[in-house]
């Protein structure tokens, strides 16, 4: 009896140790997104960049918390307010065997900003910068005005070989030019079906665990999860919140979770006097009144949304970035749920019986977006703001909700949107969501409520030309306190928390930038 049990256990143990051995070197990932190209300068978007970073290195890398660390540059420093110097790593080779040097950097920066077919270019990061080769392994980048975000911008440009000048996305997609210095080489890519990566043995960093990474795009969330449960894939991203509680109980599944840099929030029209989608008894636009905006914020039960809609997988928000990020305000707290206070504020503003409004939102862009819109409509209706939810696919939503400035404002007056800060600090959302619309400065492009406060603009301007980190952090915090704390220019709801799931024994360092990076998935 005893003997048999021992034998069975031994057999089980043997099976356990053997089974993974056969596949131990290959990791199969089910991804919710697919890149549009292997060319790292073709499309500046999460799904592309997360794939590109397997094949291509950057001068400065961003770790899972978006902290900067040395990549192809071993060190960097600001020589003065407008010039930065980067020392390049020596002895690095591209996948095709050619050596990496300063010329590759100059070419890559130029290519990133001037790719003729780019769908969303990296010009954002290269604009206004002059890249100069000093010697074969030193470069200098200069700007006209002081520019504190230099290292962050540099960490977004993938380095390609200068040998492949004149080759564009087609040559990268078929593999003939897809040579970077990253930890993996391109195996094959069949769009919509499979993307295979093979470990590059000449990689300059630590050797990754997997000899081969196979990526399968599975857009539908239930299908992706089913693929994991059925054992077709080892690891998936974008686990639906509704399944998390159950997966936690599943002994064969390991979850990895982490807060993202993405805040979900509401824009309220602060420009028009006769809004089409807000109907007040006095015929005016109540949302121009800061008391009404504060009332909206107080009427929202963020804890209930997090608990019931997000299944506990989100963090209530009081500003633009969650705790731990640079330039956050320590004075802004999450607005407490206070329906009575909200009603009082509404009455003070002259709307004791409320008004009616339509809240527009996407239904396939953010985690549970349509359900959040419905929940908020329910909550606002309870304090007297009769709110109709209206959601639509992102393809329609972002066209109709587009902001072209005060002369051509967005169609809607009350919208739900999300913002992920690629720079890992609040200047990008402050500039785009709350800054006064200004085409030449590139401000307010997503300021769909057309909020405008010259005082905040001034402080933000100052912050964007302050190289000293401590001073800049204080200025950014102050701008946030004015834009959200004092003016309630937007109503933050929560920070998204992302969840990845893998077979037992696989762990992942959850990334704040929401990317899925295959070589960061490791066996325990």
């Amino acid at each position: 009896m005893h003997f048999r049990k021992t034998l069975a256990l031994a057999a089980a143990a043997a099976a356990l140790s053997l089974a993974p051995a056969a596949h131990a070197q290959t990791l199969t990932i089910g991804l919710g997104t697919e890149p549009t190209s292997i060319d790292p300068h073709y499309h500046n978007l999460g799904p592309n960049n997360q794939i590109a970073q397997h094949f291509f290195s950057r001068l400065i890398e961003q770790d899972h918390k978006q902290n900067l660390s040395p990549g192809l540059a071993t060190s960097w420093k600001a020589l003065n307010d407008t010039t930065w110097e980067f020392k390049l790593r020596k002895g690095v080779k591209f996948h095709d065997g050619s050596a990496f040097d300063a010329d590759d950097v100059v070419v890559s920066f130029h290519r990133g900003g001037n790719h003729p077919n780019a769908k969303s270019s990296f010009g954002l990061y290269t604009k206004g910068k002059t890249v100069k080769k000093i010697d074969s392994h030193t470069i200098q980048i200069s700007t006209e005005k002081p520019y504190p975000l230099m290292p962050v911008d540099v960490s977004n440009i993938h380095i390609v070989s200068d040998k492949n000048q004149g080759k564009w996305e087609g040559d990268y997609n078929n593999g003939s030019a897809a040579h970077g210095t990253g930890p993996y080489k391109l195996g094959k890519w069949v769009k919509g079906e499979v993307l295979e990566m093979v470990r590059y043995d000449g990689y300059h960093g630590p050797k990754p665990h997997w000899a081969k990474i196979v990526i399968k795009p599975i857009k539908s969330a239930p299908s992706r999860l089913a693929a994991l449960l059925a054992g077709d894939v080892d690891f998936i991203d974008q686990v639906p919140t509704v399944d998390i509680a159950r997966l936690k109980k599943n002994p064969n599944i390991e979850l990895s979770q982490g807060v993202s840099n993405r805040v979900i929030y509401l824009h309220m029209d602060q420009l028009r006097d006769n809004p089409q989608y807000i109907k007040a008894p006095d015929g005016k636009n109540p949302m121009k009144d800061v008391r009404v905006r504060k009332a909206i914020s107080k009427a929202i039960n963020r804890a209930a949304i997090v608990e019931r809609v997000m299944e506990g997988i989100a963090i209530p928000a009081g500003q633009l970035l969650p705790e731990g990020f640079f330039g956050r305000s320590s004075n802004l707290k999450v607005e407490a749920y206070d329906p009575e206070g909200a009603k009082k504020l509404l009455a003070e503003a002259g709307y004791p019986n409320g008004f009616s409004a339509t809240l527009h939102g996407p239904n396939n862009r953010y985690i549970n977006d349509a359900k959040i819109v419905e929940a908020i409509a329910q909550m606002l209706t309870r304090i007297g703001i009769k709110t109709t939810p209206d959601t639509m696919p992102k393809s329609v939503y972002f066209k109709r909700g587009k902001n072209k400035g005060p002369k051509k404002p967005p169609e809607w007056n009350f919208v739900l949107v999300g913002w992920g800060s690629g720079t890992g600090e609040p200047s990008s959302p402050l500039r785009s969501l709350l800054g006064t619309y200004d085409k030449t400065k590139g401000w307010g492009s997503s300021n769909r409520g057309l909020h405008s406060d010259p005082e905040m603009d001034k402080i933000l301007d100052q912050a964007l030309s302050t190289v000293d980190d401590t001073k800049r952090a204080a200025l950014l915090a102050k701008a946030t306190e004015i834009g959200i704390g004092r003016n309630q220019g937007i109503v933050p709801l929560h920070y998204q928390v992302n969840t990845w799931a893998g077979k037992k024994g696989l762990t992942y360092k959850a990334r704040t930038d929401e990317r899925t990076v295959g070589y960061d998935v490791t066996p325990k």
Binding site: A221, P222, L225, A226, L229, P240, V242, D243, A245, R246, A304, I305, R308, V309, N363, N364, A370, K371, E374, A375, A377, Q378, T381, R382, T387, T388, P389, D390, T391, M392, P393, V396
Partner: protein
């Protein structure tokens, strides 16, 4: 039902004619009821239609009234109670709607979309088909070529593209379903009208210089009705199924007022986490609806015109 059945008379089956005592309507009824399955399906269908029409009266809550729905009640299992004491017999969906109410209202939308689009498509298709059959020649050639071309494309593909252009909404999906359906009716009506047109009484009517409109609607149309009713029934089932599929593909209805198909599709997100009821019950309801319509349609075909095969 009554008027329809009386117009059916000219095409009554030979067996029915032998039973001389019965009125045409009784004949129709008795041959329909000969099939137990079809009779049961008819009863089920009647109940479903009754529920859809009187949804606001029989539904426990109004799932579209946001003051009555709370997200705090979301995803409760069947039989659970809400915080203010109401029982959700089939549970609640992801937005906190009572599933019984959501299904009754969803049925209303599904049936409404199917029937509305069917009636309009039938009217348009029948008119065009009659015109083609009556005038013949060039008119007929052009019309039937268009019908042929349209029918050579699968309905789902046409509807998908139309909705991609039109956008979401009950009105939009009805428009799309009308456009994909009219040709079936046009072809059916033309076929039967053509047979009728060559009969002597129509020729006589034409000779008597009776107005075209009168000939079309008083003489030709009634004779086309039996096949039209059969095709209409089966097309309605198709339309309901098609609407559910399109909603599943994300191009049909908006989420705030879900049809049965959209309830299923929303519920699938919860399926793997064990909250089966959100998707399962609406799925059963949809299935019962479509099967009962198809069974009734099948029997209608046998009774009204045994020759008409799919």
């Amino acid at each position: 039902m009554n008027t329809v059945a009386e117009q059916v008379e000219p095409l009554a089956t030979p067996e029915a004619i032998e039973a001389k005592v019965e009125t045409p309507f009784q004949r129709f009824v008795s041959s329909f009821l000969a099939s137990k399955v079809a009779t049961a399906a008819l009863v089920v269908l009647a109940v479903l239609i009754f529920m859809a029409i009187f949804a606001p009266l029989i539904s426990p809550t109004n799932p579209y009234d946001l003051a009555q729905v709370s997200v705090l009640d979301s995803k409760l299992p069947p039989g659970a109670k809400s915080f203010d004491g109401m029982t959700f017999w089939l549970g609640t969906d992801g937005a906190g709607r009572d599933l019984v109410s959501a299904m009754i209202y969803g049925l209303r939308i599904s049936l409404g979309v199917g029937v509305m689009s069917g009636i309009v498509a039938m009217a348009i298709g029948a008119a065009i088909g009659l015109i083609a059959a009556f005038y013949g020649g060039r008119v007929e050639n052009v019309i039937m070529r268009i019908v042929d071309i349209q029918l050579s494309f699968p309905a789902i593909l046409v509807a998908l593209i139309l909705l991609a252009i039109l956008g979401k909404g009950v009105d939009k999906i009805i428009i799309a379903l009308i456009i994909v359906q009219w040709a079936y009716y046009a072809r059916t009506v033309r076929g039967s009208a053509l047979v009728e047109r060559n009969k002597e009484y129509i020729e006589a009517a034409t000779c008597l210089a009776i107005g075209h409109r009168r000939i079309l609607f008083r003489h030709l149309l009634p004779n086309c009705l039996p096949p039209l009713i059969v095709v209409g029934t089966i097309q309605t089932a198709h339309a309901i199924s098609l609407e559910a599929t399109l909603s599943f593909l994300g191009v049909g209805l908006p989420v705030s007022e879900p049809s049965l198909g959209l309830l299923i599709s929303n519920g699938f997100d919860y399926m793997l986490s064990g909250k089966y009821w959100i998707s399962f019950f609406p799925g059963v309801a949809l299935l019962v609806t479509i099967v009962s319509i198809n069974l009734v349609g099948d029997q209608l075909r046998d009774v009204l015109n045994p020759r008409l095969e799919r």
